[in-house]
């Protein structure tokens, strides 16, 4: 461990704001990039199922 205490870790020698902002924003963007295709897949499947059911009803 490079830092002596947790508060020092958060403070990052006075640059805490910059470091945590960079990491935080990147984490948010990465998570969005993972979640989006997963949600998209769910939506695709839902749409397709609805369509299949509709076609079964009409036939």
């Amino acid at each position: 461990m490079y830092f002596d205490s947790f508060s020092e870790f958060l403070n990052m020698g006075g640059h805490g704001l910059y470091v945590w902002m960079a990491y935080g924003l990147s984490a948010v963007l990465l998570i969005i990039n993972v979640v989006q295709p997963v949600m998209h897949k769910r939506q695709l499947i839902k749409e397709q199922m609805r369509k299949l059911r509709r076609e079964q009803k009409t036939s």
Binding site: Y2, Y18, M21, L25, L29, Q48, L52
Partner: protein
């Protein structure tokens, strides 16, 4: 050797095969990505020594550099996949190329944003017309162009081909742009302090960086496969195997 490669290449062209194999690969890549990024982040934030000049703000490097590397290699991959789709009319390659663009743009944006944040304590300004930052900004514009062109076409096939041409033109231009921006930068600001050029970084500094780069590549692989699978589902929804798959899922 060549024959197995050709056979593999042709199987890659089958959306069904890609869908199945990527379904098996995703968990492994996802696990590797989570593990490597977690290890790299903790190592880089908490255990790596601080830079003797920049102090702890230097820890941004563990995001900034992987993002910048990814931003460039994703554009490269996008152009190659687009070229394969263009020449051999391979549908999967088209879908891969399309799936590259959003994550590539995100990586470019992260590289720019972290660069700007890093610049504040280092240079005292959020934005500096540094050669690397400027080339990254232009790369971001190129990504936006590809994404905009992709969404402008009604036909998916034409969209894929048009953006393949644009990304190939872009890949030819990127070295020219980089060279000219670097030349321009030295003309206007001789001897600026460089963000990432460090004289002989010690191992405890670059090891976590390496872990992060590999982790980012794994994450990219996961997202690329997720997106490509969605594209396959959407474009092949009329085929029997997709319909069979859907009835199993529900």
């Amino acid at each position: 050797m060549w024959k197995t490669f050709v056979a593999w290449f042709h199987r890659m062209g089958s959306p069904k095969w890609f869908y199945e194999i990527s379904g098996r690969w995703i968990p492994w890549f996802a696990a590797a990505a989570v593990l490597l990024i977690a290890v790299g982040t903790v190592w880089g934030l908490a255990f790596a020594p601080a830079d003797y000049q920049q102090g702890n703000s230097f820890r941004i490097i563990y995001i900034h550099v992987p993002a910048a590397i990814l931003a460039q290699s994703i554009f490269f991959l996008m152009a190659i996949a687009g070229g394969i789709g263009l020449i051999w009319k391979m549908k999967v390659a088209d879908m891969v190329a399309k799936s590259c663009a959003p994550f590539g743009a995100t990586m470019t944006f992260i590289a720019l944003f972290t660069g700007a944040i890093w610049g504040k304590p280092t240079w005292g300004a959020w934005w500096v017309w540094d050669a690397r930052l400027t080339s990254m900004l232009i790369l971001l514009f190129l990504y936006f162009g590809v994404i905009a062109l992709q969404s402008a076409f009604d036909s998916k096939q034409s969209a894929a081909r048009a953006s393949a041409i644009l990304s190939l033109v872009g890949i030819v231009n990127i070295p020219i742009i980089k060279y000219s921006v670097e030349w321009w930068n030295t003309l206007h600001q001789p001897a600026t302090f460089k963000l990432t050029e460090k004289p002989a970084m010690p191992a405890e500094m670059w090891m976590p960086l390496l872990v992060m780069v590999v982790g980012f590549y794994c994450l990219f692989a996961v997202i690329l496969m997720l997106r490509t699978r969605n594209e396959i589902l959407e474009r092949e929804k009329r085929t029997h195997w997709v319909q069979g798959l859907l009835s199993k899922e529900s």
